[in-house]
Amino acid sequence: MKNKLRVLRAEYRFSQADLADKLGVSRQTINAIENDKYDPSLSLAFKISHLFGKPVEEIFENGEGDR
């Protein structure tokens, strides 16, 4: 699943550690999401959506062939 997390993080000038702290996850989790290695849970996706004030579907894009 593609996402715009890195772009949004840059816009808000958050480091990965800042974002991880705000979301209550590890920095490795943020890194894995940004690199499309891990799809976040629904709960985490909503937390991200709430933090950046954007709908989930604007941040995460379900590409063809994704799980």
Partner: protein, 147 residues
Amino acid sequence: MNTEPDDLNKTTHWPYASLFFLGYFGKNSPGGKALFYRTMIGALLCALGLILSPVVENPLFVIPVLTLIPTSVLIIMWAYKEYLAQLDELSRMIQYESFAFSYGIAMAIGITIYAAGFTFNTVFPAAFILFAEGVRGLALTRIAKKY
């Protein structure tokens, strides 16, 4: 909030040494210290049970000594349950995947060793435990590397 998102393209690393040798994300992970001390208590009780069970002959003490071993396992199980509840979702998933992988390998090897015992009239449970622990460490590091 930082003024410079200096880690924009940085990659992160997992605590591979802890994953391999300890079988979890280390003492610095959330709940890591508690897991360490709880599993140590469990391991000590297990060792005590293993040391005392062959030497205790008084029936009054046999049952309490024998309960030390399952009690130690229950303590370790509870310690991991508490630890998993404190991990973040990706770390928890990695830990679960490694448990599943190790369980499969342990079952395969355990049954093989059990069957081999019929032919060779001996089994090496200590070697099996060491092997299972090694597999768990290896599985954790390999799975963590995927992320």
